[in-house]
Amino acid sequence: MFRHALSAIQNIGHRVIEGMWRLGHASRFFILVLLKSGTSLRRFGLVIRELYFTGVLSLIIIVVSGLFVGMVLGLQGYETLQKYGSESAVGTLVALSLVRELGPVVAALLFASRAGSAITAEIGLMKATEQLAAMGMMAVDPVSRVVAPRFWSGVISMPLLAAIFSVMGVYGGYLVTVVFIGVDEGTYWSQMQSAVDFRFDILNGFIKSCFFGVAVTAIAVFEGYDAPPTAEGVSGATTRTVVSSSLVILGLDFILTAFMFRGVS
């Protein structure tokens, strides 16, 4: 009994130490990527090429999801607000929900699943098939040439995708509440215009999505670069990217919201 308890405590201790070591390793790798981003800035074509894979190819899932989330928000918002005779505020509800929270958060979760996992799998497979080692042997630093352009493409894509998600959501809400239910169009837009503040709502939502972009892409490139060079290793790394990114997005969202919207009416 005592031996089992001791073994369990040792196991927990071992896992905590391993987790901390890995966190330190990831932090060092993140700093290394930032230090080696010069090539990405000098040869911006490398980043633009990756922007296509991370950003443009994520557009479909972002546009469709944004539209449906906006439609559901419009529908649920209208059902609740009409009980209090405030259905005219549905535009405000849709816009604030999207711009402050759902736009950055849901877009980041989708981005982690679509682009983050793809980045991890690609870098992990490049490692498993010795492409990164070959690059190193050709005196080309894989962190500068492969990792940094993917990192910056993710950082640039994320806020743009979150903005597109919010815009599509607002139009989804418009479609349901104005076109299908019959809420007055002028009220929908004017309430939204008067309630949504550029500084507190749009800018803060944009800052959130920038943080999420850095977090998701940093996790994705680290997991790919650190993946054991086997099929099982790459598969595990891809799963870890989606799970870790999702948890980090939700945790970061709470922290950022607490700082940004404290005391804002």
Binding site: T129, Q131, A133, A134, M137
Partner: protein, 270 residues
């Protein structure tokens, strides 16, 4: 001989954690030579290539390449040195998102300021040397194993290196591709005046093309000599390896307790 040596491996030892892999290895490789490094699986052949290229640090001893001690170089100096080296990986390691043409052009675009028209000519010349000029537009997934390795070979000679290291270049090839790769290694080494190190298990094919052979076993150089000396050697390890004998200094059975004891037959003896 020493003055002509491109690579000097001096008393080189290497361990993974506490597991020794190489123990006091000494080698000399001259300019223009094709040298084979042979040994069983896990004997440290690939580790030796990684030590020569500076990818890992030795536990003790050193490697000198063109007069420079590889492990004492800074990262930038090591990368400058690597421009004089090429490496052919076991399965080619071609960049799967780039075409054959772009794979071969990769190093030229990364390390030189040559105009695209000149890069085009050089790429086609390199691909012509390996017989794949007509395949320049293909993607790596459209190539056979032998073709992929020839493209990788063209890529590794893109900047006319002084040294090319081949890690198991004959693995998984049909007899024709195997012969083609073997002859290309010899021809390109002679034509470009470089040195080639071939890590391989393929005794018969490699003995046809190499100038000198090192055998590694248990982390040390078990034997070395010219292909003629190796073929005629009566040293038990070399004889077993060259003739592919099942048992010998490298035993068939993994060390274990007695067979009778394992089958619990000791008490049944009459």
């Amino acid at each position: 001989m020493t003055s002509e040596s491109l690579i000097e491996v001096n008393n080189l030892s290497f361990s993974y954690d506490t597991r020794p892999i190489l123990n006091g290895v000494n080698m000399r490789m001259q300019r223009g030579q094709v040298v084979a490094i042979m040994g069983g699986s896990g004997s440290g052949k690939t580790t030796l290539l990684r030590l020569i290229s500076g990818a890992i640090q030795p536990t003790s001893g050193h490697v000198k390449f063109a007069g420079e001690v590889v492990h004492e170089l800074s990262r930038d100096a090591l990368f400058r040195l690597r421009r004089k080296m090429g490496m052919l990986f076991q399965f080619g390691a071609l960049f799967t998102d780039l075409s054959v043409y772009d794979n071969v052009a990769f190093q030229m675009r990364e390390h030189t300021n040559l105009p695209e028209s000149m890069i085009r000519d050089l790429v086609l010349m390199k691909l012509h040397a390996v017989g794949l000029r007509g395949a320049h537009h293909l993607m790596p997934n459209e190539l056979s194993g032998g073709m992929a390795r020839r493209v990788a070979l063209a890529r590794s000679i893109a900047l006319d290196p002084m040294l090319i290291m081949y890690d198991e270049p004959f693995t998984g090839l049909d007899p024709i591709s195997l012969s083609v790769i073997g002859n290309l290694i010899r021809r390109l080494t002679d034509a470009l005046g470089m040195t080639s190190i071939v890590v391989t298990h393929d005794v018969q094919e490699s003995l046809k093309i190499v100038d000198y052979v090192y055998f590694i076993a248990d982390g040390v150089i078990a034997a070395h000599g010219t292909p003629k000396e190796v073929r005629e050697s009566v040293a038990p390890f070399v004889h077993q390896f060259v003739h592919g004998e099942e048992d010998g200094p490298v035993p068939f059975h993994y060390p274990a307790q007695s067979y009778e004891k394992d089958l619990e037959l000791e008490d049944c003896r009459v």
